[in-house]
Symmetry: C2
Subunit: 141 residues, 2 copies
C-alpha cells in the first residue's frame, strides 16, 4: 500500500507512540522509512527540547541529529533517510514529502506548545497541505 513513510518526531514522550506505529506500519507495508525532526528557529517560551537553551552556540542541527540516532537505530533507518531541516514545522514536513515521494506521513496529533486551539496544530497544517495520506497518532494533550 505505502512505499515511503515519513516519520515526524518532536523529541517529546509522544515519540515512543509514533515509533510504535511506525514499526507496525513497516511490518505491514515493508515501506522505506524516513525520519524527520524540524528545528524551529524561534526559541520556545515554554522550554527547550534540545536542552541547550542557555547555550546558543551549540549546533542545533548536530544536537537534533544525535537525538534522532537512537530512534533511527531502532527503526533501521540509514543516515541518508534522516532529515533535520530548520523552519516552519509543517512546511518542512510537506517539502520533504513532496521532494522524496513520501506517500504516508506519520506524526503525532498535537504540537507541543499547547497553543493549538489558537494557532491550529501542526498536524492540521500538514493535513491541509499534504499531497499524500497522513496518519495522525493520538498523543497526550
Amino acid at each position: 500500500m505505502y512505499k515511503h513513510i515519513l516519520i515526524a518526531v518532536d523529541f517529546t514522550e509522544d515519540d515512543r507512540l509514533i515509533e510504535g506505529r511506525a514499526v507496525k506500519m513497516h511490518e505491514f507495508t515493508q515501506a522505506k522509512l524516513s525520519l524527520i525532526h524540524v528545528i524551529e528557529p524561534m526559541p520556545s517560551i515554554y522550554g527547550d527540547s534540545y536542552g541547550v537553551y542557555m547555550q546558543p552556540e551549540v549546533n542545533l542541527n548536530e544536537k537534533a541529529t544525535s537525538m534522532l540516532k537512537p530512534i533511527a537505530e531502532r527503526l533501521h533507518i540509514p543516515a541518508v533517510n534522516i532529515a533535520t531541516p530548520s523552519g516552519n514545522v509543517s512546511h518542512e514536513i510537506i517539502d520533504y514529502s513532496d521532494e522524496n515521494n513520501v506517500d504516508l506521513i506519520l506524526m503525532g496529533s498535537h504540537g507541543r506548545h499547547g497553543l493549538r486551539l489558537l494557532l491550529g496544530s501542526t498536524a492540521n497544517a500538514v493535513l491541509h497541505h499534504a499531497k499524500c495520506d497522513v496518519l495522525t497518532v493520538r498523543v497526550s494533550d
Copy 2:
C-alpha cells in the same frame, strides 16, 4: 495494532480510494470494520449526493443505507456495524468513535463542499477532536 476501524464515506468518487485503504488496513490488522455516513440536515447549495433534491419526502436515512450497502458488502461489514446518523459530520464521527471504542478513523482529507479554506475541512475537525488515531486519505480537491 488497530482493533476497530471506522470508515467514513461521503458518496463521492473518493469513496473508492478510501475503500481501497480500508481493505489493506483490514488485511494488515484484522480489525473489525464499521461504516458511517453522516446525513447533513441542511440541503447543500452545491448539489445533492442523494439524488433526491426535489423529493424531500424521501427518507434520507433509507436512501443512505441503501447507498452504503454495496460498500458494506464488498468490505463484509454486517448491518449492525453500519451507521447513518444525521447531524454535523465531524461531531457524529467522533461520537460514534467514542461510543464504539474505535481506535482508527479512516476518512478522506477533504470535505466535498469546496469551502474548506473558509470553514476548515471535516478531516481537520475530526483530527482536532478525535480520541484515537486518524488516517486521512488524500483525495481529489
